[in-house]
Symmetry: C2
Subunit: 469 residues, 2 copies
């Protein structure tokens, strides 16, 4: 039956039945769960007692158990693979596609992984070892090596027959696209399975395939792979060697996972910490503290400079204590406007809308935007002081008008400066080949805070010199 | 040939040739650009003078021109469609899949869109009007209505023949999955094109299809559609009505676009502004100011409370001006730790790792994490004051030890409080059915700033009462 996300999760509903079946007649498990999506079966497994997870995997056909394993929560999968006999683990992972197998093995203890790999067939072992050499965040690390490629000289129905026999063999090639190769085995064309089905059976593959193949090199990072997939609406991105040979394909489901991982990292960095690289819910307490404390300490040390800036102006503060009342306001206005500008620019860069060479256009625009926003907020600040004074809510002294103007102008300066710094920092980081997403909101705020104080006190010195100061 | 993202963008290379061809022999354009990906041809169009874009679209076959139009930058597409004759625009959009046609028409001027729709064939018009009624951010708004469904009683080779003839007709059904229907026309099963190819030609579709169909309702929001696609590794998400009938499918390329849009909005909200809904680079200056000024003003008004808090403690400040030196430090420590916690929780919620009911577990964890992080930073703050004092860099007066302890303890309190508020705010927003991503870093910082000041002065009153205060 059709199922809806609003419905109760299916796993919680069927888990008790499956547990009962596991205990009473495990032989029926396979047939009873045959129609369940492996992701749902994995969700059921996560609700079972640990020992029963292994029993469940044992009760399923190998291929099915491998599917379930692949969808299991990383922690659970790792401990299952580390606890079951090596031969059984090898039998399970050998049923996975080469890319998933590599991903799974990279998560577990290295010695255990080596043992499992040594139990694989020679072919699977070689494949796995080759894939494990790629950085997991590159196209090489994301690709699967099982795809369909045929000589460009094949006829359409020969190619179709090859796809059918591969599909029937139960192997798990990525079949959305069929790649055509030239006499030297290099990629010379691509067509979708749908186009293959639509083509005249007697036509030559090289005549019906598209000769422009959008591809990436094995070293392309996952952001590039994601960008290509999104821009060209691809189902699979071919990974092509320098010599023009097809090494593998990155399938769109792995691209989606990569996009989500990159987004998680970007948001965490933007929040002012190292990327956790693990789900919040399963991460160890001290592991999380380590990832968060580093940046917090750096920011704190940066903020200590505000104490030095305040010390520098202690004489002014002594003479006009009223100035200190607006310090948090001034400082945070700069931080807020800077954090807006930074988030905007980081995201526009990630989407490829902005390149390094656009920096000066952005600088001009943000200086103008920052000034405009500063004027709006500055007026608010000015009005606040005047209203409090004139309504008798507070007495800012005889020079309240000058004070209101000082605060208003300082806000203009600080907001304009904050927007400019916030927008330029991602460019500066990219210029030095650092990740622009490291320009976190708190980082920008810290940079702007010290300068904001200096701007505030300089404006005060100019306007209040001779009266309050 | 295979192409690499590191290479120079192809568009810039071929644009001059295409421009020359457009001027000298437009009849050759179609053949010369036949093998180019429509996304590349759209990139070329964006480099051409405006008048030549229309000439290019005219020179291409209708279907091809529609493809290029679909990949064009939104601004350019809107202006092209609004400027060309209505019949031509109708002929172009009628070549698009129903979902893309709807998206394109929703972008342009309503009157022009109505004129174009009225020129469509009756069938296409009905389809388009029906799709335009769905909220573009729901499954109904994302789905295409051209998919392949066959009766479950069909044999495998009958179904395959139907797919082939649809593919040959040049219509653009989503063919990754074939849906099986029961006698009442309700969805009863699904199988991939690959599984259809692998199945025995004489088997009945209902016997080879998967009967568990993962589907969404037309009202499901795009986050839910994305979650399903990622969790189940889907190529297409079927949209099923309450009565169990298949209304359409959301294809994975549209899901990727939706994921990127959601991410852009989340990052912009996290940065403390309204989502722009338009690329930074093409947005009008005043439109952008409007989106940014709103939140900045709200935050500024919130920050004005810090001035009130400072006023409340003006007597203490008068007696111990030295306290004012550490105000920016205290205030920003709370903001930074709060913004970390907020980003973490918002992302974990977006990934489905945390549900509303997890709030108390998170609260306990964040209180503990905040306290730990606070102790680390508090010690740093204490050490800073002691080092400056003992090395003679600054004189904090006779009670410098007590002052250092005050600052250290205040940091512990403020950071613990900031982490707790930062982590609870997304839960509170979700509880009231608001978007947790609205809990921006600046919003949290503002909330924490006022409380941070109060914590600081209360600690000071406790420790320094009788000496400095």
């Amino acid at each position: 039956m059709a199922r809806d996300p609003q419905e109760k999760p299916i796993a919680a509903l069927v888990a008790p039945d499956i547990l009962e079946l596991l205990v009473e007649s495990p032989a029926d498990i396979a047939a009873e769960t045959e129609e369940m999506h492996p992701a749902d079966l994995a969700a059921v497994a996560e609700l079972l007692p640990r020992e029963q997870v292994k029993a469940l995997l044992n009760a399923l056909p190998r291929e099915r158990a491998a599917d379930v394993l692949e969808y299991l929560d990383e922690d659970l999968r790792v401990s299952v693979l580390e606890e079951i006999p090596t031969e059984q683990a090898a039998a399970l992972v050998s049923q996975m596609t080469p890319d998933d197998r590599t991903d799974v093995l990279e998560d577990i203890d290295e010695d255990v992984a080596d043992d499992i790999v040594s139990e694989l067939s020679a072919e699977a072992r070689a494949e796995t070892e080759r894939l494990m050499e790629f950085d997991p965040d590159t196209a090489g690390g994301l690709m699967t090596t099982e795809f369909v490629s045929v000589s460009g000289d094949f006829l359409v129905d020969e190619a179709l027959e090859q796809v059918r026999s591969l599909a029937r063999s139960g192997r798990r090639e990525a079949t959305y696209n069929i790649y055509a190769t030239d006499a030297q085995g290099r990629v010379a064309g691509v067509l979708s399975l749908r186009e293959l089905l639509a083509a005249a059976p007697g036509a030559k593959i090289s005549d019906v395939a598209w000769t422009e193949v959008v591809s990436v090199s094995p070293g392309a990072n996952r952001q590039e792979v994601a960008r290509f997939t999104a821009d060209y609406d691809l189902m699979a991105v071919p990974v092509v060697s320098e010599s023009g040979h097809l090494m593998g394909v990155v399938t769109v489901d792995d691209v989606i996972d990569a996009i989500e991982d990159v987004q998680t990292e970007d948001i965490q960095k933007l929040g002012g910490m190292e990327a956790l690289d693990e789900p919040y819910t399963s991460m160890s307490f001290w592991g999380m503290i380590r990832k968060r404390a580093g940046w917090l300490c750096v920011l704190f040390v940066g903020e200590l400079l505000t104490a030095s800036a305040m010390q520098r102006f202690e004489d002014e503060l002594k003479r006009a204590l009223v100035l200190s009342l607006f310090v948090p306001l001034i400082v945070s206005s700069g931080g807020n406007s800077g954090s807006q500008a930074t988030s905007l620019i980081i995201r526009a860069m990630a989407l490829g809308e902005l390149k390094l060479r656009d920096w000066w256009r952005v600088a001009l625009r943000e200086a103008r935007a920052g000034f405009t926003l500063g004027v709006i907020l500055g007026v608010l600040g000015f009005v606040r002081i005047m209203v409090w004074q004139l309504s008798g809510l507070w007495d800012y002294g005889p020079h309240y008008r000058l004070l209101a103007i000082t605060v208003g102008l300082a806000v203009v300066g600080v907001v304009a400066f904050g927007s400019l710094i916030g927008s330029m920092l991602p460019f500066a980081l990219r210029r030095f080949n650092l990740d622009p997403a490291s320009a976190s909101a708190p980082f920008v705020a810290t940079l702007v805070d010290v300068t904001g104080l200096v701007i505030y006190f300089l404006v005060a010195l100019m306007l209040l010199g001779g009266t309050l100061l």
